[in-house]
């Protein structure tokens, strides 16, 4: 019956990623689920115009209509329009990838020279109330859970700071019960003692809560929309606050209203039609920057990775060529945006993306809880990584590629 359910879903979906579905999720899906488009109590609502614009443009994006000539034209333009961005993401652009990469590299050098900014993620808690079927932290996945206390936080931070790292990204699962905003704020205040730059990748909150985190020293907020296809979003995020699509979508805008300096965007490539999701991601960032011109824009380009209890997860049809195409399209459309490549990718892919189009890299990564300082992780990881290099190793590798590591380029004011 569950298999049947999955097959039914598959029939209606050209981008069904069977590697992430399982019986339990299928069974759960058959219950009456919360309406994913309706805000819940306590969730701050913003104007729906931006969501409409992005989701409609995503739906209308017919990438098969573009030709090589459209791609050439997009490359020739000095400033690229959303239409150019669409052409660069189309299948017609793939045979021109070499040329596209050269152009992307020029833009990268113009805006960032040979700089590569370093950061490391610090997972402080992995309790989660959501049921996102592809994520290792999801509440139905039986893993070891933990939440670092002050002493453990300090040890972790000390251990990271000793490596020379100056930018930190603090992450949690989504549990307002186990890791509330006060707890996260306290962790950020502590981080201010060890690091120059602090970003968070936590559950979406209201603008007053972002303002509070800003006071605690945070200036950058990253929220991945995962997929901009709301129907698919509903099939993948079965329970918990994350199920509410518009609340998550507007997180970056609330963060900017809360006084944050910069915001990060991403679609998790491989969940749905990656061309459409990459298009929506870029457009979301583009429109929000237009509305808030001072906002620093950051993009990530994560592909699906295996998790504990499901080592088969794959990013569907997003191979390395497609990944490079998407990241180059981001660079050409938003040349001023910071682009991160996470340790989901292997060293070879990351290093080459840094040379061509990306400018920010994580190093010394551990996606578990307590993995930087404890002999044994206190909590299990969110996903398995593919690049285990330490800061010192990546630093040396970047220098070998004639790239200049930058540990911090920021002042908190």
């Amino acid at each position: 019956m569950n298999k049947k359910h999955n097959e039914q879903v598959k029939k209606q979906d050209d981008f069904f990623n069977s590697s992430i579905y399982n019986d339990e999720a299928a069974q759960f899906s058959q219950q009456q689920l919360v309406d994913h488009m309706t805000y819940q109590a306590g969730m701050e609502q913003l104007d729906a115009q931006l969501i409409q614009q992005v989701t409609e443009a995503r739906a209308d994006f017919d990438y098969n209509k573009y030709t090589a000539a459209d791609v050439q034209q997009a490359l020739a333009h000095e400033q690229r329009t959303p239409e150019d961005f669409a052409a660069l993401l189309s299948p017609a652009a793939l045979p021109l990838l070499e040329e596209i990469a050269h152009k992307a590299q020029q833009e990268r050098q113009r805006y960032f020279g040979n700089s590569v900014t370093f950061f490391t993620p610090l997972y402080i808690a992995n309790y989660c109330e959501n049921y996102c079927i592809y994520c290792g932290f999801n509440s139905h996945n039986k893993i070891q859970r933990a939440c670092l206390n002050t002493e453990q936080l300090r040890t972790e931070m000390e251990s990271i700071a000793q490596t020379g790292m100056q930018e930190i990204l603090i992450l949690t699962g989504e549990s307002r019960k186990k890791s509330d905003i006060k707890y996260i704020g306290a962790a950020c205040r502590l981080a201010r003692q060890y690091f120059k730059v602090i970003g968070v990748e936590i559950y979406p909150v209201n603008s007053d809560e972002y303002a509070y985190l800003h006071q605690c020293g945070v200036d950058y907020v990253t929220v991945f929309q995962e997929t901009y296809n709301s129907a698919k979003y509903s099939q993948l995020h079965l329970a918990g606050p994350k199920r509410i699509f518009p609340y998550r979508f507007n997180a970056q805008e609330r963060a900017l209203r809360g006084g944050m300096r910069g915001v990060g965007f991403a679609a998790l490539l491989g969940l749905d039609d990656f061309r459409k999701d990459a298009f929506a991601t870029g457009l979301h960032a583009y429109l929000l920057q237009k509305k808030y011109p001072h906002a620093e824009i950051a993009l990530s380009c994560p592909r699906l990775r295996p998790i504990i209890n499901n080592d088969k997860i794959k990013p569907l049809d997003v191979h390395e060529r497609q990944l490079l195409q998407a990241v180059c399209a981001y660079r050409l459309f938003l040349p001023f945006a910071s682009i991160t490549v996470s340790s989901r990718e292997c060293a070879r892919v990351r290093d080459n993306l840094m040379l061509i189009c990306a400018n920010k890299i994580s190093a010394g990564v551990n996606t578990g809880i307590g993995g930087h300082s404890q002999a044994q992780e206190l909590g299990d990881e969110q996903f398995t990584i593919d690049d285990n290099r330490s800061l010192a190793q990546i630093y040396a590798d970047m220098q070998r590629l004639h790239l200049q590591p930058v540990m911090a380029e920021y002042v908190y004011v």
């Binding site: 100056q166 120059k196 630093y395 200049q404 590591p405 911090a408 380029e409 002042v411």
Partner: protein, 254 residues
Amino acid sequence: MEDKLFLGGHAFHSRFILGSGKYSLELIKAAVENAEAEIVTLALRRANSGELANILDYIPSNVTLLPNTSGARTADEAVRIARLAKELCQTPFIKIEVIKDSKYLLPDNLETIKATETLAQEGFIVMPYMYPDLQAARRLRDAGAACIMPLGAPIGSNKGLCTRDFIKILIEEIDLPVIVDAGIGRPSQACEAMEMGAAAVMANTALATAKDLPLMAAAFKNAVAAGRQAYWAGLGRVRDCASASSPLTGFLRD
């Protein structure tokens, strides 16, 4: 003839100000030497780094540091960054950059004027980066700026003197050194700015994106010097059409 650039009572021989961003720290020394630069700008947000890759460790000690306030979005933020810069770099020089636009990086003249006022009163030698607007330039002068630094084109664009005609007006009207900052993409453009009467030129991306950075630094040095010489020499006039051999006024008899 001694031809010195005076900024806040300090004299400089070099009229080429070198940026230090977007390229390998190991190349800074060679760039400074080849450019014979006496002033090097650096972003304070880059300089407050810790031990690893600290840019301050790579800038030769005999140059004048010109910290900038990049990252500031308001006058208030620029003032705070300037005060930090003074402490960290031990210099009264400050280049004001107030930018509220992450896409074009164009300066906010209004906030820049406010920051200049405050910092000049505090004794800073204020060098404001600005959009070449005559009224704003006059207000910066009145606020106590040591020079004005109009942009030739958007930062990093290498497009050259897109604002040529407006910079000429500033050179004509403002009795302060006018230093062309941002947009200079090649030595010939730096040379042209100097021919126009700019007091100095600043460049960064043009060098950072060159294949041979130290060689490009030398090229800029020569271009700036040539432009300055041409300025003093007085450029020959340029005519739109050839001189007619039989002039129209040739018929006049008495």
